[in-house]
């Protein structure tokens, strides 16, 4: 029996929430021997790497599908849970890092991209270049580590078929617009042969037994849930078929399923709802509970609208602030004049006397005002007479932060003594996450229990922390996870929920706390400001070395990721790494053969609120690298696309680059002041390239006029959702490179709202956006953050080419 990471003994498979267990493992899928993941295809540097492959041929009970095709590596551990209606549990986090599945049928629309793919393969003999070293993320990336962290938890993803015929998948993740609930519903509908409209995907309350398996981040949700969700749905389908076979006394393998029903050859039909109770008694299904091979997918891979779209366009979609929790009163907080300042004096007498005011409560971060309406709370907050002690960074401004970052750098290793070289230094400003829905949390804290409602990316850590702060056992705190109005990393942190809990406890009543836009701009979290030094040496047409030194204001990663990485076996203290450095090593790599690359992170501890911002370190590190690739290409007299192509380590990456260059008509002449720009990035098992055209005739108001995007994310679940993510990343790139950032002035952030934080509006975005998805293959990669570095780089490079300048500080117009 081959060694298998995360192998579990039968005893450990028993999930605590079930009383009757019937493991219904099934292994292998026809066609599993198909194409591996895009970043691990033959020809890429990663093929020699120790990929996280687990052979699951051991320890299986029912493998009835092996005869149908090559035996694959995957297995699907599912369990029948004791319940009056069919309820299936699936192991979370199992085997999702294994390489994957068959080549799917290619949609017609993607044929051009496929041709480009093939052409790239034919030209695969890239010009001879010095081999670069693969980065750590080529071998194991953050997503793999997060999946590994989930392996030892034998807890379950739960799918229930109700007597009313609903298929309900309880999702241990947060929906913030990334389209996850739709993608998950598609997976369930696919494997159940259910109608998409019969599937519900509610967000699970915080489930502490899931340990590391309820953290939404790292572009990891589809990657980590694809197998468990399909496994659960396929196991449910097998039991529904078996129940129908028993009812009709016919062989189970004569039945088929479609549109949420089991169908017999004689025309009899039984809906899933009417079979659900019988199916709950099927211990051993008579047909295999194995997910479909790729060539039989009918819904996965098909452009599909969001399942909640109608709720959204009618205003029925409910965010935390829209919930009516009995007795929860509108609450806002007066905050210090500088970041992390403290209250010096308070006179609340005038505020307390104002109409509608229900209470004034002091908390560590400020003074809370409770009132009958938010308007009354805001007016009373403004009537508080307060004075504040300066915070720890009072007196510090952007220029000081920049100077400190410059002096925090680790030195370059390779002195450019005998070779030619290019140096570049880059500054990136603080950037607020600024999700449209401000932080909002409802808390109802009673003497012996607490209940919270908010959009939580890390509900378990929130629950633990809030319980500790309230002096309650963790089990006495319930976290209800509510859809979020955007996040971009912001809702990894539960600042508002913790405050709401403290206020509710102090006031002795339920509260609905809302941060104002000002609160989140001035006291919320930021992508940390960073400074980058990049040096590349070259000689005789070869890049000899590539050194990147990133110095960033310390990123707060205190939301459970550290615990997850430790659980995955990353002994941070032994390795002498900080959590941030581990994160950096797991995410940052140079995708090109550029001799000997080194990338080092230095962190500047600063008492400002930071956090992972969509694409985290890649949003600055890879952008600086991509700008340097352009400058180096021009220095060496080469075309920017050809220069990259010759050095990209992976054939799949070259196919994406070729596609975007061909579709975007790279090199087409443009009038003076306008130019194209290119950006490339691979991460999360996915690849993206952006080609933008930018008009910088008016340098104060540059406009991206066209964008062409190509991406290969392996198995695409929902092309519409993927395209939405790639488009959002484009708008992020336009914003953070050209115009959106936050200034630190004497310990306070200057911007207060969208009036001065210039996130792109309609007039800043290109009227033409084209997206080309490469043919689906393998298992799904992550896509939520993928596009940001490539889009940012493309915009910066287009600006440089249009203006003949070398932009070094972002946003450019700041």
């Amino acid at each position: 029996m081959p060694a298998r990471t995360g192998a579990v003994s039968p005893a450990r498979r028993v999930p605590p929430i079930s009383t009757s267990i019937a493991p219904s493992d099934s292994t292998g899928r026809p066609g599993d021997a198909g194409q591996p993941h895009p970043l691990n295809r033959p020809g890429t540097a990663t093929e020699a790497g120790p990929h996280l492959t687990r052979d699951a041929s051991a320890d299986t009970s029912t493998d009835t599908t092996a005869a149908a095709g090559p035996t694959g590596r995957r297995r699907f551990l599912t369990y029948l849970l004791a319940a009056p209606t069919l309820t299936i549990g699936a192991r979370l986090g199992l085997d999702t890092a294994a390489p994957a599945t068959a080549q799917a049928a290619t949609p017609g629309a993607a044929q051009a991209a496929q041709a480009a793919h093939a052409a790239a393969a034919a030209r695969d003999a890239a010009p001879p270049q010095l081999l670069g070293l693969p980065g750590i993320p080529d071998v194991i990336d953050l997503g793999d580590a997060m999946i590994l962290a989930g392996l030892p938890t034998s807890h379950l993803l739960v799918l229930e078929i109700t007597p009313a015929g609903r298929a309900v998948l309880y999702l241990p993740r947060l929906e913030v617009g990334q389209g996850l609930t739709t993608a998950i519903a598609m997976m369930v509908a696919e494997e159940l042969d259910a109608k998409l409209t019969d599937v519900d995907v509610p967000l699970s309350d915080g489930r502490p037994e899931l340990l590391f398996n309820q953290l939404t981040g790292g572009s990891n949700s589809v990657r980590s849930l694809y197998d468990p969700v399909r496994g659960a749905a396929a196991a449910a389908r097998a039991r529904l078929v078996t129940a129908a076979a028993r009812r009709w006394n016919v062989p189970a393998d004569s039945l088929r399923t479609a549109d949420s029903a089991v169908l017999a050859p004689d025309g009899r039909r039984a809906g899933y709802g009417e079979l659900a109770a019988d199916a709950a008694t099927v211990v051993l299904p008579a047909v295999p509970g194995t997910p479909k091979p790729a060539d039989r997918l009918r819904l996965v891979g098909t452009p599909t609208g969001r399942i909640d779209a109608r709720d959204i366009v009618t205003g029925r979609a409910k965010y935390a602030g829209d919930l009516q929790v009995p007795g929860a009163v509108p609450t806002v907080v007066a905050r210090p004049t500088t970041v992390n300042g403290t209250l010096k004096s308070l006179d609340a007498s005038a505020a307390r006397a104002m109409p509608g005011v229900l209470g004034v409560v002091q908390i560590p971060s400020g003074v809370a005002v409770l009132a009958e309406t938010f308007d009354q709370a805001l007016k009373a907050r403004d009537a508080l007479r307060t004075s504040w002690n300066p915070g720890p960074v009072a007196g510090l401004s952007d220029a000081d932060v920049k100077a400190r970052l410059r002096s925090a750098h680790l030195p370059f290793l390779i002195p450019p003594l005998l070779t030619q070289y290019v140096d570049g230094e880059f500054d990136f400003a603080f950037v607020n996450h600024a999700p449209m829905e401000v932080l909002t949390a409802i808390a109802d804290v009673r003497p012996n229990r607490a209940e919270l409602w908010f959009a939580a990316q890390s509900p378990i850590v929130a629950q633990q922390t809030i319980a500790a702060e309230l002096g309650l056992p963790q089990s006495a705190v319930t976290v209800h996870v509510v859809r979020g109005g955007g996040s971009f990393g912001r809702r990894l942190f539960f600042d508002a929920a913790l405050e709401a809990a403290l206020i509710s406890k102090a006031a002795g009543r339920p509260v609905k706390l809302m941060w104002t836009r000002n609160d989140d701009m001035r006291h919320g979290r930021m992508r940390p400001a960073s400074h980058h030094r990049v040096r590349a040496t070259y000689a005789l047409g070869q890049v000899l070395s590539w050194e990147h030194r990133a110095a960033t204001v310390k990123t707060d990663l205190g939301h459970g990721l550290g615990e997850a990485l430790s659980a995955a076996g990353f002994s941070l203290s032994v390795a002498g790494l900080s959590l941030a450095q581990a994160f950096f090593l797991l995410t940052e790599k140079n995708p090109y053969n550029v001799g000997v690359p080194t990338q080092l992170l230095s962190e500047l501890p600063l008492a400002v609120h930071t956090g992972s911002w969509r694409s985290v370190y890649s949003g600055s590190v890879r952008v600086a690298d991509e700008i340097m690739m352009d400058e180096l290409a021009r220095r060496m007299g080469q075309d920017e696309v050809a220069f990259r192509r010759a050095r990209l380590r992976g054939a799949a990456g070259r196919a994406v680059l070729d596609t975007v260059a061909a579709k975007g008509d790279w090199g087409r002449p443009l009038p003076p002041g306008q130019a194209q720009g290119i950006g490339y990035h691979d991460e999360h098992g996915s690849i993206a390239a952006y080609l933008v055209e930018l008009d910088a005739t008016d340098r104060a108001n540059p406009r991206v006029t066209k964008a062409v995007i190509a991406a290969d994310v392996g198995r695409v679940i929902n092309p519409k959702g993927l395209e939405a993510q790639l488009t959002g990343a484009l708008v992020d790139g336009i914003s953070v490179i050209l115009q959106a950032g936050n200034h630190l002035d004497n310990g306070a952030f200057r911007e207060g709202s969208y009036g001065d934080f210039h996130y792109a509006r309609q007039r800043h975005t290109p009227p033409t956006v084209e997206i080309h998805l490469l043919p689906p293959s393998g298992s799904p990669g992550g896509a939520g953050e993928l596009g940001v570095p490539a889009a940012s780089a493309a915009v910066a490079n287009a600006y440089a080419r249009a203006t003949g300048t070398s932009p070094r500080s972002f946003p450019i117009n700041f």
Binding site: V176, G177, G179, G305, R306, D308, A309, R310, D311, I312, V313, T314, G315, R316, A317, K318, Y319, G321, D322, Q324, P330, P355, E372, T373, F374, D375, Q376, L378, A434, P435, M436, E437, V438, G485, G486, S487, F488, M514, T516, R517, K720, A724, T727, G728, A729, L730, V731, D732, S753, Y754, G755, Y759, A760, R761, Q762, R763, T765, P766, P767, V769
Partner: protein, 155 residues
Amino acid sequence: MPTHTFVLNGQPVTVEAPDDMPLLWVLRDKLGVTGPKYGCGVGVCRACTSHLDGQEFQPCTRSVKDCAGHTVTTIEGLADGETLHPVQEAWLSCDVAQCGFCQPGQIMAAVALLRRTSNPTDADIDQIQNVCRCGTYPRIREAIKQAAARQPAQP
């Protein structure tokens, strides 16, 4: 406390509120109408965009007193029962929304634009100021054009 009477989504309502209370909080906190969202409170994000006598406005910067005697339409009042407005249909057809938080305001702004200009150009669409932090702008543009093409004569 003063009372204010206006027509909200086709129904007359009377509400007790201070004269200077922004309509947004009257809608959300007193009337339970939560389609219009708070995103800034100062009229720049426009997540609360609704219609006053058929014209676009931001309830976060308009007092309830100023709305008395007028007709207020929020996203909840745009559809005709279960029959969606053509702009809502276009939003579904183009799968515009991501997080969805700004979309009630975006839709109300688009409806107002189409009332002003039945066949808007790209430059007309560029005049919409509503922020979408998810960056759904290209699909908003597409949906507005689709709605315009299907509904040449807006009432």
